[in-house]
């Protein structure tokens, strides 16, 4: 009797907490730009809308890649991501001399090559020389290699996912990622990065960083001194204290 009641209660508890557990798991996924940097993107076989079959590494070997992950039935962030990316790329191409291609990949197994062709048509990308749209064979291996974990929402019949751009250099290494809708300047940095051009960048503060030397505010662009600087002065101050103590002790003993 006790066992049955306990099991029933446990099942009710699990069901009622399913959403929060799922959300927690979702939150624990690595949705961070610095995750997986300098690892290689999975060399998945891809089929371009032109009909050409290749792989991600082969395509990257020709020109560094900005990989954008979308699905054609997307009612969320995919459209603004592609629209803004296209706009930004046009701005960047006017002043940036670096080589690159934008590879738009579908992460939805239901998407066909025809769907991707329609997507290209809708966004007027069919004749854009820097753009490639494709479907991929091994979706899960590819998305895992870039730490992209879309979650299927049964209710909305949509994937819940973030807007992600992955910069891949000619050796297939992920050198930079951008999460969210980003400015032309930031995409320009990504393009430099995949061309192996050094670009300085500031670390964004996290709660785990307690003793920083300087705190960079991305909103204002200002760098203010932090508590970490005190640690650099501390050895000299402690030495003065120890010397004073040793001298007083020496005086007392002598």
């Amino acid at each position: 009797m006790f066992k049955r009641t306990f099991s029933t209660l446990l099942i009710i508890l699990l069901i009622s907490n399913y959403n929060s557990i799922a959300n927690n798991l979702y939150d624990k996924q690595d949705w961070r730009e610095e995750e997986g940097i300098y690892t290689r993107i999975y060399d998945a076989k891809i089929k371009l809308i032109s009909g050409e079959q290749t792989s991600i590494h082969q395509l990257a070997a020709k020109k560094p890649l900005i990989v954008a992950l979308v699905f054609t039935r997307c009612a969320g962030v995919c459209n603004p991501l592609l629209l803004q990316l296209k706009e930004n790329i046009q701005i960047i191409l006017r002043k940036n001399q670096y080589k690159f291609s934008v590879l738009v990949l579908s992460f939805d197994p239901l998407d066909s090559l025809k769907d991707m062709q329609n997507l290209a048509y809708r966004f007027n990308l069919l004749n854009e020389p820097n753009w490639e749209l494709a479907v991929v064979d091994s979706i899960s291996s590819m998305t895992k290699s870039v730490n992209f974990f879309p979650v299927w929402d049964m209710r909305k019949k949509q994937y819940d996912h973030d807007a992600l751009l992955v910069g891949v250099n000619t050796q297939g290494y992920i050198t930079k990622k951008l999460i969210g809708l980003r400015s032309a300047d930031e995409i320009s940095l990504l393009i430099s990065d995949i061309n192996n051009v050094y670009r300085p960048s500031y670390r964004l503060p996290t709660p785990a960083n307690m003793f920083t030397c300087f705190n960079y505010d991305p909103k204002t662009g200002k760098n203010t001194p932090g508590w970490g600087l005190a640690f650099i002065a501390l050895p000299a101050l402690l030495t003065v204290g120890i010397l004073a103590f040793l001298r007083l002790r020496g005086k007392y003993h002598s």
């Binding site: 300085p200 500031y202 670390r203 996290t206 785990a208 960083n209 307690m210 003793f211 920083t212 030397c213 300087f214 760098n223 932090g226 970490g228 600087l229 640690f231 650099i232 501390l234 050895p235 000299a236 402690l238 030495t239 120890i242 010397l243 040793l246 001298r247 002790r249 020496g250 003993h253 002598s254």
Partner: protein
Amino acid sequence: METKKLNKITALWIVAILVLFILSIILGIIMRLNQGELIKIQPPTFYADMTTHGVTMIGIWFVAGMAAVNYFMERYVKTSYTANMFAMVMTVIGVVMLWLSTLVGNFHAGWTFLYPLPFKIMWSTWATPLFLWSIGVFGIGWFVWTISLMAAMLKKYSMSQVLAWQHFGKKDPEVSTPPFVLISMISLIGVLTCLIAAVILLILLFAEYYSGGTFKNDALLIKNLTYFFGHTIANEMLYLGLAVIYELFPEVSGRPKLKTTWYVALAWNLTLFFVLAAFFHHLYMDFVQPEGLQIIGQLASYLASLPSSGVTVFSIIVVVFRNKINWSLTNSLFFIGIVGWVVGGVGAVIDATISNNFILHNTLWVPAHFHTYNAMGNVLFSLGFFHWFSKYATNHSLPDKYSFVKLAILIIGGVGFLLAFYIAGADSVPRRYSTYPKGLESAKTLAAVGGVFAIVYLTGILSFFVNISKRCLNVLFQRS
């Protein structure tokens, strides 16, 4: 401290240092021969060798300076045998831990173990904490030793006397601070400061390691602290050697003792303050570091090195110029060592100049200059002391056989080995490469040449080792 006990522990330091020195040279030769493609080792082995070689060399030449300073300090104040022995025990434990972490655990983050490399584990997981604890064990032993020597001096001398401030205004002050006491104290203050920096550094690294990711360090802070510790200790160990030269060079040359003058006091006081800020020159390439600190780094590099080297060279010239000198192996080693220290110092100042650093940063110019003032500077200071001590403590008064040959082998080996570094550095060959890629053929050739000359240098060191260690073992095992 009783003379017998002091002699025994000094002899023990000398034998231990020389054994570790020879082993570390062999690791260095293996690295250069690998770069020259005369032998083949795997990159992780190369970097584990590099880590072992770097930390061991810095450690042994620091304790060599400390042991010599402790020995002569007894002439002025009473020092602690317990602290000396404690440092010895901690150093031995530290070396065992270090070598286990690198040669067995394959830890290979370099002697600077620059953050976050120690936590990007590509070796046995236990090797990272063992390596960091080995540094901690060294630090505790050396900290106690440093404090005990400073306490001994501050019992006899006031703060202003030990730093020779009374020499600034008067030509003949009531209390004259011996140059040995002044330079030892200046060096020990620097040592204490950099050891405190090491303690803070290790606490922060351990905090991250044991927090399981809830605490993350600031890379800029850790790099500043790493070089505060690393650069400063590498400089202070040279100054400990110089303190010994001020004490011993005139003595073995048959000349009167050197005295502290206002310019000697001023130069060494400048060194005290500026050497603590010179480490900023290691961060020229860190764009986040404010420009002001970079400029301080350059100025401090000049102000810490030029006055002290100027007065030291001047003092040595005063001793030898138009004077009858009893040249022996000891003062010859000191004299050549001073030349090596100055040449290496010039190389260092060239690199510490911001406009030059854009070209020389992380090229073989860097190991070129620090090997010059170590292998042909500090090592010779200590060898001079070791040689003198081994003879003095065993009442060995016979002249040395083959002194000229030994010195010649050491100089030929050392100069050839260093030239290979300098030429490659001037040619922008990068440092810390296990193997050189295609297009850097000259780097391979120079590495092979450097490796061969390093073998010649090792032969010279072995010739010193045989006699010195034999006499030191006699001191160690003599009953009365």
